[in-house]
Symmetry: C2
Subunit: 223 residues, 2 copies
């Protein structure tokens, strides 16, 4: 599906004017400068100085283009590094590394969740994560399930936060939540009413790592 780099160039035929690399590079520029929603095959074609259909000679379709883009990003940011040797800390650090890499490209939310594996370049971190959980005493099966729970939490944090941010951008009407919280019935919803005016700053805080630590602790507690 991916990275089966374009068929080996034959000596015959017309020489290529644009390359897959150039297509991906240009796509990345559009996406980082203006957002995914501005990345269209037509726009991309005109940016590389070609026609929409020329692109289809270098990528199968738009979906493949997005996957290539994600892979490209992972290759740049997810390089194996020093991780803590203490296994629990290794689990936290590996998850946080994946999380950080994804934070840097919120545009990829739509591809990110396509499979439980986003890129071969993340594989090393997944290995470290699973291995760390096993070293903490989990069976291999439970370690894989633990990895998945961590992945759900991580993907969810990114999807929720970036979708909320995207919606807020260029939309200064109050949120649906703000409207509801403003007129909250304190008898029916005492806790929510109590915290209503602190909700905004509370949820603006980055609590990814706290939640992650809690989840890891909980996964390990049973054994």
């Amino acid at each position: 599906m991916q990275q089966p780099s374009p068929a080996p160039r034959k000596a015959t035929g017309r020489p290529p004017r644009i390359s897959r690399e150039e297509v991906v590079d240009t796509a990345r520029r559009i996406v980082t400068e203006e957002g995914v929603e501005r990345l269209t095959m037509r726009r991309l074609a005109s940016e590389v100085g070609s026609t929409p259909m020329a692109l289809y000679h270098h990528v199968r379709n738009k979906e493949e283009l997005l996957v290539l883009l994600l892979d490209d990003h992972a290759a740049r940011t997810l390089r194996p590094t020093e991780l803590p040797s203490e296994p629990r800390e290794r689990v936290v650090a590996a998850a946080a590394a994946i999380h950080e890499a994804l934070c840097a490209c919120p545009w990829i939310v739509e591809v990110l969740t396509a499979d439980d594996l986003m890129s071969t370049h993340a594989l090393w971190f997944v290995e470290q994560l699973v291995d760390g959980l096993v070293d903490c005493g989990l069976s291999l099966e439970r370690a894989v399930q633990g990895y998945r729970a961590i992945w759900y939490y991580t993907a969810g944090e990114i999807v929720v936060r970036t979708t909320a941010a995207r919606r807020r951008a260029g939309n200064d009407r109050p949120t649906y939540r703000e409207q509801v919280f403003a007129g909250l019935d304190a008898d029916e919803y005492p806790r929510l009413a109590q915290v209503a005016d602190r909700w905004e700053p509370l949820t603006a805080q980055d609590t990814y790592r706290d939640g992650l630590r809690a989840l890891v602790a909980g996964l390990l507690a049973a054994h």
Copy 2:
């Protein structure tokens, strides 16, 4: 933004041919029978026997239509019920209720993550969840953060699972993950190689509740 039901009907002017209710009902039918991707304003218009532009008299735009659809679903499925009195079990049950409601409408993935509140009809469960965490000994602040961690985990589980399912449907080529796992280097990735052929059945299991219990346990453990 939502549910400010259409301006009170005046006696003057042309009598309406279609109602907001009819629009939402028809949209729900299309979406449950054929999927969100088939719900277009044009299709919906022809289904209610009208023109695309007539719809804009009943809903602001397509986004509002989707929010109305989600709210409609929540109203049908998220009715307050008996929850366990033991606070920790109440937290788990409230989260599981929200999760179950969302599972029944995977089509709503694209709206679901718009804000940290999907519908007023979920409010009662959020209240129960936060209250349960407080009863377990958390401060109100930490209870809210706990709720958010649970929401990330829940939303992530749904988004990942349904996107994966959507991708698999009508696409019998092996997944990217399958390809990668088939040719995994056992020296570089020993754990992943070890579990490669069990990955499929392992990840097919529904482990939402296990992960949820672990997360809740971890959130409570610190205090």
